[in-house]
Every structure is written in structure tokens, then in C-alpha cells.
């Protein structure tokens, strides 16, 4: 069997679903293999002379570059901060690299860079280095941004997708599916009664509050971006060899977003978020986790949405409103390309 089942790259290779996983594990991780990478977390944690350093990078190609509630620049700052802090690290510095298409309005670039500076300042992180390239008109799409960042892990805990245990609880910090639906509504020119805004935000204050409030009872954290809540929970279940069951009635979602998903036939569990985190915590600390999150503006709508069970390993299910159970599978194919 060939390494990948497609001979050319498909859009779905970037969807965060099964094909992305195949591309990463069989092509990249296989060749680059080393202990820090092989964990396949959102960030690598490396030892630098006794300091545990979290290191992560992410590229942003969202279309359109301005969308309700944010723009590509804010997303690039917040997204990389979130990737760093999901292991409980304290983000300290970012890089920003710009690939600009000939013809891009300088005023647009200015707006984007201004909002990047504001986002970084809000999160308490500096942008300390960068790079600029310009490509011919038609060879890029306005602009692409890459950010990388480092953070310091100054706690002794192992917060990882591999640490889920039976009876752990799944906590979410806010309402789901806002970012994906905001981008989609702008891109497709859909107007909804109440405007849907992206939730893009840096989550480092939430993660540090959880680390200090819960300590070793905090088992895993991840922000459900591409592929949504369904992708993250499937990754958790697979990495820890456990099952997960969600409660449909407990999922926080804004009525306008639920309506928009309904209208477009999208399952909100698969729609991208950019300012929400999922935490897996020991059962006895679940209420505390919700309380800690609700103490912050970004976590006001935090909720307990499910639990971990021993069997069947690797399977995510949801108890429906009718009390039946259905599978929540890893996303397949491309639901919404270029969402971040």
C-alpha cells in the first residue's frame, strides 16, 4: 500500500480529520520522528537546560481575511498562544511571518497588524521576530500568516491527550461552533437574524487558572479548532484508549448558531472554534473546573458535557435527547475548507 491513498494533495488533507491524520502520521511524523514530536500534541515540550519549553507553530489561510468578530491576524496570534498553553505552559513570545500577495491593500495589512498587536498585548505576549515575503498576484490569496511561539511549562504536571481515565469528566469553556459559522456566513454572504461572531480569543488565562486550581486532577486540555469538538474528543479517546460519552442536552450552543447549522445541514460538533477549550478532569474536580472557568469572562458559559468510560476504547458516543446513544465519529472529508 502506498504511504497515502491519494497521489495528489486533496483539500481534505487540511481538514483536521482522518486524511490530515494520515498525512501527518505517515508522511511527516514518520520521517521527522523524535520523542518530542512523536507525542503529536498541539505543542512540543522540550528540555532546554532544565527549563521545560513549549514550542508550537501554525499557519493561517482563512478566507475571507476579515470576518465577523475578527480577522486573520488576531486568529494567528490567538491560535498559536492557544496551541502553546494547552499543555499548561505560560506563553512568552511569538514570531510572525507574512506571505503577502502583490496588490494587497496596505490599509488592510495595517488593520490586521494593529489587531495582532492588540491581541498579543491582551494575552501578555510579545511578538519578537518575524519575516516578510511577497508573491506575484494570483500566486497567493491576499495574505497568509505563520506564527510560532514559545512558552514555559512551570508546573510539574503531565497534561496530555494520553492521560484520560475512566470516569473522568469532559468540561467545555464556552459555546461551540461560533468561529466556523461566522466565517461561513461571511464567505457565503448568508445573513442571519442575529449576527454570528467568531469567538477568537487567547485562552492562556483560562488554562493557567485551571492548572493552578486543579493541579494533577487536570488530565488533558485542547482547543477544538478544525474538526471541532468531535475531532478533539476522538483524538483523546484514541490516544488514551478509552471511550467518551457526551450528553446532547448539555452542549452549550447559541440559538442563532444552532439555527444556522441546522439550515446548512452542518453538525455543530464538527464546526471550528477559536476561543473555546475542552478540559478532561478527574470526576471529583469537575464542578471545581466549571467554577474556575466561569470566574473568567471567556469561560462564563462553561459546562460539563460528558464523561470518560473504559469501553469501548477509541469510541466517542453521544447520549441523545431521546436517551439513545449514537456514535460521534472522527470527521471525514472537508466540511469547510480554509476556516483558519
Amino acid at each position: 500500500m502506498p504511504i497515502l491513498r491519494h497521489r495528489t494533495i486533496q483539500l481534505a488533507h487540511g481538514s483536521g480529520g482522518k486524511l490530515t491524520h494520515e498525512l501527518i502520521t505517515r508522511l511527516f511524523a514518520d520521517r521527522f520522528s523524535n520523542p518530542a514530536l512523536d507525542r503529536l500534541d498541539d505543542q512540543a515540550v522540550i528540555d532546554c537546560g532544565g527549563i521545560r519549553l513549549a514550542f508550537s507553530t501554525d499557519s493561517y489561510v482563512v478566507d475571507p481575511i476579515f470576518f465577523p468578530g475578527g480577522n486573520i491576524g488576531e486568529l494567528a496570534v490567538n491560535g498559536t498562544i492557544n496551541d502553546i498553553c494547552m499543555c499548561g505552559a505560560r506563553p512568552v513570545a511569538l514570531s510572525a511571518a507574512f506571505i503577502l500577495e502583490e496588490g494587497l491593500a496596505v490599509a488592510d495589512l495595517e488593520r490586521i497588524v494593529d489587531s495582532m498587536q492588540r491581541a498579543a498585548a491582551r494575552a501578555g505576549v510579545d511578538i519578537v521576530t518575524g519575516d516578510t515575503k511577497v508573491v506575484n498576484r494570483g500566486k497567493g490569496d491576499k495574505l497568509f500568516i505563520n506564527t510560532a511561539g514559545i512558552g514555559i511549562v512551570d508546573h510539574p504536571y503531565d497534561i496530555s491527550a494520553r492521560r484520560l481515565e475512566a470516569d473522568d469528566r469532559i468540561v467545555i469553556s464556552g459555546r461551540i461552533a461560533n468561529h466556523g459559522m461566522a466565517v461561513l456566513s461571511k464567505r457565503e454572504g448568508l445573513a442571519f437574524e442575529s449576527p454570528i461572531e467568531s469567538d477568537t480569543a487567547a485562552l492562556n488565562r483560562l488554562t493557567s487558572a485551571l492548572v493552578s486550581g486543579l493541579g494533577a486532577s487536570l488530565h488533558a486540555m485542547r482547543d477544538p479548532t478544525r474538526g471541532g469538538v468531535a475531532a478533539v474528543l476522538n483524538e483523546f479517546a484514541a490516544a488514551s484508549g478509552v471511550g467518551i460519552v457526551l450528553e446532547e442536552s448539555a452542549l452549550p450552543i447559541a440559538p442563532a448558531v444552532a439555527g444556522a447549522c441546522e439550515l446548512l445541514g452542518l453538525d455543530p460538533l464538527y464546526v471550528a472554534n477559536e476561543g473555546v477549550l475542552i478540559a478532561v478532569v478527574a470526576a471529583e474536580k469537575a464542578e471545581l473546573a466549571v467554577t474556575v472557568l466561569r470566574g473568567h469572562e471567556l469561560g462564563r458559559r462553561a459546562a460539563l458535557i460528558g464523561r470518560v468510560r473504559a469501553k469501548p476504547p477509541g469510541l466517542v458516543a453521544m447520549r441523545t435527547l431521546l436517551g439513545t446513544e449514537r456514535i460521534v465519529d472522527m470527521p471525514v472529508g472537508e466540511q469547510l475548507p480554509r476556516i483558519c
Binding site: 491513498r5 491519494h6 481534505a12 482522518k18 457565503e188 431521546l322 446513544e325 465519529d329 472529508g333 472537508e334
Partner: protein, 369 residues
């Protein structure tokens, strides 16, 4: 969304379930026609809640699934032509043809775009007068009026670069064909609510009269579906066979007259091959003589394409309600949503995809301990 909540209310659903249990005295087999209903049934686990004596079999109501392979291959051939912008609904892009799918054509350089409405395709044609814009129109009576509107408007505006590859099919002829089949098990139909919104429920009177089966016009939410099942069970138990409208909040007896007139103008009814089932008389829509210049097959003159279906795929039996997706030996092993053998696994409304996505039985050993 307030309006929908009462149709998802677990309390009302439980009341209906106990009413169904009280009413049923012997085994009955009924078919929900529409893939959207199949999806809702499996997603909400309604099949797990019904008493054992009520069997729901899943009908051919997934238009993507019943589109014949040769038509998909023709779409792929047109989409690969230089200068063409090929548009369709997202579901159509992943349906495997003999060698590739529309996503494959796109990654090989074809200009393939997802649209949410045929009118979006028309807009692309207006803004790209130097390109040939093709809309691959798929669907039942529900989506056919919008396709008809796009062709009608193209004609009115004198657009020369808009073309339709028509794969629209009609529901009542398929219902008759299934009842004619010697292997038929279906004793009652839950008719597809949205099709009836366009065509009205009177269209089913002829089917009911000829075959003496209850036909219950049913919605898509859990309470709608249970209500439809209950109405069908009552008719069967009482020996009645009527067309009964249980989706009255949406469906009128006569349907949408304006949409019907538009369809009658733009389309003509033809015999049509249904994938996995065969040719069903008077079950498809092609462009009428007046609009033939918009016919993509005619314009691009794609030659006859020889195709062979994967022998292992049992989707024909699934589409006729003879086989449950999970009873197919390839289900979940050699046939998955990433590597589908047939369209019932790839379309989001296909029965196999619904089972795989929501209801795939985990290997028994996984549940142990």
C-alpha cells in the same frame, strides 16, 4: 429554533412511543422514503426505541445515491474540460465515479465549485461570460424547482454560457416500482415531507389507490417521525389505507402551484435509470424542447460511457429496503466513508453512511468488561 423544540421534546416522544406499543398487535414493515428521514431516525436512535414488531426499512430517497454511475462519469468528464466551471451541491463532489470523484478532478486542476443553490451557479455564469458554467442538478421534487428557476432565468437573460446536467428524479414512480417488486416487504410508506411541500399530498392518491398501502406524509424531527409511525401503525392495525398528512404545518394538499408550473415548463418527464434499482418508467426529469440549448450532455457531446459497478456493493438491495446496511459483508471494513464502494456510503443522506456515522456496531469485544 423555538418552533422546532416541541418536535424534539423527549417527553412527547416517550408518550408517542408508549402509544405505538399499545396500538401494535403484530409485525409491520414500513419504509421511510427520504434519506433525510433515515438520517434523523439513525441519528436519534429512533429505530432502537420502537417495539420489535415495527420494522423501519430505509427507502431510495437519497438523490445522490440513486444517480447512475454513468452520469457521474459524464459529470467528471465535463468537469475536467478546460474552460468549464463545474458546480454542484457539496454532497455530489465526493461520490465516486468509475475512476475518481469531483474532488479528484478539482485537485487535478479542474474548476469545480460547491454551490448552495443553482442560482449561485447562474450568478457565476453572469460574472464569467468567457467560461462555460455547468450546474449538476441533483435531487427530487424538492430541489427541482430551484434548478428550473435557474434555467428559466438563464433563458430570460439570454445567457449563452450556462448549462444543466440534469439528474433530477421523481418519488411517486419509485414508490410504485418498489411495491411492484417480487421481493417487496413494505406494507406502508412514510412519505417525504419536503417533497410533498412542492407536489402536495394528493400526488400520492394514485399510488395508494392502486396498491392499497397507507401513505403517511411525515416530517423529519423525532416527534414528527414517531407521529408518522403511529399513524401508519393505526392504519395497518385497522385495515385502512389512506393518504394521511401528519406534516400539516408545512404540507398543503395541492403543494406549491407556482413551483409545479415552473417545473412543467422547464422539464419533461422521462424514463430514468436509478442506481442499484434499474430503469423506472417516467421517473426522471430532462429539459423540455424549449430549453434543450441548456442541456450540458447535448452541448458537450460526451460519448456514451461504459461503466461497471463494484460487484461487492449491495447498495441496490439497501435502496430497496431488502438489506440493512450493517448486513452487508463489506460494511465498515472494505466499505467506509473514506473508501466507499457505493453512493449509499458516501452521501450524507445515504443509509450506509448514516449507519456508519451514528450507529456502527462496535466489535462486541470492545464493549466487554
Amino acid at each position: 429554533m423555538k418552533y422546532l423544540e416541541e418536535f424534539r421534546d423527549p417527553k412527547i416522544a416517550r408518550q408517542m412511543l408508549s402509544e405505538i406499543r399499545r396500538t401494535v398487535t403484530r409485525p409491520w414493515v414500513m419504509m421511510e422514503i427520504c434519506g433525510g428521514q433515515t438520517h434523523s431516525i439513525i441519528r436519534n436512535g429512533i429505530d432502537q426505541l420502537l417495539p420489535e414488531s415495527v420494522t423501519l426499512v430505509h427507502g431510495p430517497g437519497c438523490p445522490v445515491c440513486v444517480t447512475p454511475l454513468e452520469l457521474i462519469d459524464r459529470a467528471l468528464a465535463i468537469a475536467a474540460l478546460p474552460g468549464v466551471i463545474f458546480t454542484s451541491f457539496g454532497d455530489m463532489l465526493r461520490v465516486p465515479g468509475s475512476r475518481t470523484d469531483l474532488f479528484g478532478v478539482k485537485s487535478a486542476g479542474g474548476d469545480v465549485r460547491i454551490v448552495y443553490s443553482p442560482l449561485d451557479a447562474l450568478q457565476i455564469a453572469r460574472t464569467h461570460p468567457d467560461r462555460e458554467v455547468v450546474f449538476f442538478g441533483v435531487g427530487f421534487e424538492t430541489t427541482a424547482p430551484a434548478t428550473a428557476m435557474a434555467v428559466h432565468q438563464a433563458h430570460r437573460e439570454g445567457l449563452k454560457n450556462f448549462f444543466l446536467l440534469a439528474a433530477h428524479v421523481l418519488v411517486p414512480p419509485a414508490m410504485s416500482a418498489l411495491l411492484e417488486s417480487p421481493t417487496n416487504r413494505v406494507q406502508a410508506y412514510l412519505a417525504a415531507g419536503h417533497v410533498c411541500t412542492v407536489m402536495g399530498w394528493k400526488a400520492y392518491e394514485a399510488v395508494r389507490a392502486k396498491y392499497g398501502v397507507p401513505i403517511v406524509v411525515t416530517g423529519f424531527e423525532p416527534v414528527d417521525l414517531l407521529d408518522g409511525v403511529l399513524a401508519a401503525v393505526r392504519q395497518l392495525e385497522e385495515g385502512r389505507a389512506e393518504v394521511e398528512n401528519r406534516y400539516a404545518r408545512v404540507v398543503q394538499p395541492e403543494g406549491n402551484r407556482m413551483a409545479q408550473e415552473l417545473m412543467a415548463d422547464v422539464f419533461t418527464v422521462r424514463d430514468r435509470k436509478w442506481r442499484g434499482i434499474g430503469v423506472i418508467p417516467a421517473s426522471g426529469l430532462g429539459l423540455s424542447d424549449r430549453y434543450l440549448q441548456y442541456d450540458a450532455e447535448r452541448y458537450f457531446g460526451i460519448d456514451r460511457i461504459e461503466v461497471s459497478e463494484p460487484v461487492e456493493c449491495k447498495s441496490g438491495l439497501v435502496l430497496q429496503g431488502i438489506l440493512k446496511p450493517t448486513e452487508c459483508p463489506a460494511f465498515g471494513t472494505r466499505c467506509t466513508p473514506e473508501t466507499p464502494l457505493g453512493a449509499t456510503m458516501v452521501s450524507s443522506e445515504g443509509a450506509c453512511a448514516a449507519y456508519h456515522r451514528y450507529h456502527r456496531p462496535a466489535p462486541a469485544e470492545l464493549w466487554k468488561g
